[in-house]
């Protein structure tokens, strides 16, 4: 491979795979925004919590038995769902009539809470995360796609399509959109606003868990706050980029953001502009919000 390809193609491909994780986290963010106009700042940390549980179950620490990998992953996903339900019941529901900004501060509180709990459970340093699968799918010179990377792309694609279908085809999906648009009218036709919200948060918890387990897997290690630091902002940017209410938009936005970030980080030297990936993300987010607030695929303004 020539130099050009190594400088462009290699980071672009790895960026795209990384972007799929952003998209996966972004899916949960879009879901919660679409259903309740909520930005969930704890989304990444909810995933991280599930990833911790997976790692604990995998290694068999504390009261948890040593489980096989698939069981550990399943256990992590269940934790994610329960966590979503808990957050909805304890934090979001009491704030139903509060301004959305208050709810956002509360989700930031949930982040800090989970961060502290993870600190209690794991100690300050990083610990190894569960890798679902090892080995490479494709290697060619500097270019390398792992099996895990392949799974991430596949899972994101399937979930993006499934969730889009859920909103356009099912009664529950329609009801969730209805709640977000006119809660009063939704109550009046006999839909339980509480039940739809609980359902949404359960799904968001599951999506977060899947993203957390996969991302910590590619990362190899997991530590409190690590996932939030790594992926929350890119995931938000991806969600906004794709149009905050468009589910496939999170997919496209995630991949685009992943590639941009990887290219910037690998091509702009650190001594010229440190944190160039973050700066470009900030610029991109600002530009999208100022120029086209509905995002690339979004319809609403």
């Amino acid at each position: 491979m020539d130099v050009m390809a190594i400088e462009i193609v290699v980071p672009a491909v790895s960026g795209a795979v990384q972007g799929c994780v952003y998209g996966l986290l972004g899916l949960g963010l879009v879901l919660l925004y679409k259903s309740g106009r909520i930005f969930n700042f704890a989304q990444a940390e909810m995933g991280a919590f599930a990833a911790f549980m997976t790692a604990f179950a995998d290694a068999g620490s504390g009261i948890l038995p040593d489980m096989p990998v698939w069981a550990a992953v399943f256990f992590g996903m269940i934790t994610g769902i329960l966590l979503g339900l808990l957050v909805e019941r304890v934090v979001v529901r009491p704030l139903f009539s509060a301004p959305k900004v208050t709810v956002v501060v509360a989700t930031a509180g949930v982040f800090l809470f989970l961060y502290a709990i993870e600190g209690f459970l794991s100690g300050p340093g990083p610990r190894s995360a569960t890798r679902i699968i090892d080995g490479d799918l494709y290697t060619n010179g500097g270019l390398r796609i792992t099996n895990l990377g392949g799974i991430i792309v596949l899972v994101l694609g399937v979930l993006a399509v499934l969730s889009a279908l859920f909103f356009s085809r099912t009664r529950m999906g329609t009801a969730i959109i209805a709640v977000s648009q006119e809660p009063t009218a939704t109550r009046l036709v006999g839909i339980s606003v509480e039940r739809t919200a609980a359902f949404t948060w359960a799904v968001a918890g599951l999506l977060g868990a899947i993203a957390g387990i996969l991302l910590s897997g590619t990362n190899g290690v997991i530590a409190p706050g690590l996932l939030t630091g790594l992926a929350l902002v890119p995931a938000f940017t991806a969600a906004v980029f794709g149009g905050i209410t468009a589910l496939p938009g999170a997919f496209v936005g995630g991949v685009v953001i992943g590639i941009i970030e990887a290219l910037a980080a690998s091509n702009i030297p650190k001594d010229i502009m440190p944190g160039s990936g973050k700066v470009i993300l900030f610029g991109a987010l600002l530009a999208v919000l100022l120029i086209r607030p509905a995002g690339l695929l979004g319809k609403e303004t």
Binding site: I177, A178, Q181, T184, A185, R187, G190, I191
Partner: protein
């Protein structure tokens, strides 16, 4: 026994009382109209009947059974439906989805389709626009959709809040006529209105002022009373006399 009996109903927002023990009843098959100026407590009354506001005191009976204390879901199941003030259709959903969600409390798919056809019978305009997003409809069409959605749960008592708000007089008349038709087809109707044009369709008329009912009588009685028209409806023509 009346179909709807409201007995000493008290309610309000937060800790501020609005309704101070109002009582009235509506007979089965009739059309009752609640008039009153802005802030008189009309919307509060129907919102409370629909289970959106808590009952502080008094009782609401529907078909002789107590329904006060039920939430909105329970009220819909009991057979009372409200088309709320400001229409509140779901702007991002199609007309068809709006109607289908209106039938959330019912399960039988075929019967729901039948009701959809019935709504389209009342409002042919909605049939033409059934795949359009509700937010792109005109004000009148949204009002039709809101009423249509309220019928979708097959209520025995239909309440409509501000049926004519923001509509042209002609369009308001059309809406009133369809409501009268719905009434003729066997549904009891309660309308909250500020428009005099609804009077010809009213069997019973109520006037509210400051959280109390100040008039309860037949529609014709109210119509003949020029004094009431002048005071409450700001009727320019009647003011001369």
């Amino acid at each position: 026994m009346s179909m709807l009996e409201v007995d000493g109903l008290r309610t309000g927002y937060g800790s501020l009382p609005v309704l101070q023990g109002i009582s009235f009843s509506v007979e089965e098959g009739q059309t009752a109209v609640i008039f009153g100026l802005n802030g008189a407590g009309k919307t509060t009354t129907v919102n409370c009947l629909a289970g959106l506001l808590p009952v502080w005191g008094g009782e609401i009976r529907f078909d002789g059974k107590k329904v006060s204390g039920k939430d909105a879901q329970g009220i819909v199941k009991a057979g009372i439906s409200l088309s709320p003030e400001g229409r509140r259709v779901w702007p991002g959903l199609s007309v068809m989805k709006n109607l289908e969600l209106g039938a959330w409390s019912r399960k039988d798919r075929n019967k729901i389709d039948e009701t959809v056809q019935m709504v389209f019978g009342y409002f042919p305009r909605l049939d033409e626009r059934k795949s359009q997003l509700a937010g792109t409809l005109s004000g009148g069409e949204q009002q039709m959709l809101a009423i249509g959605r309220a019928i979708m749960s097959k209520p025995r008592l239909l309440m409509i809040d501000e049926a004519s708000l923001g509509l042209s007089p002609k369009l308001a008349q059309t809406v009133f006529q369809v409501v009268s038709q719905i009434n003729d087809d066997g549904t009891t109707v309660v309308i909250v209105e500020q428009n005099v044009g609804v009077l010809p369709y009213a069997d019973q008329a109520l006037i509210m002022e400051k959280g109390t009912i100040t008039f309860d009588g037949r529609g014709e009685e109210l119509e003949k009373s020029g004094e009431l028209r002048r005071t409450y409806l700001g009727d320019a023509a009647a003011a001369e006399h």
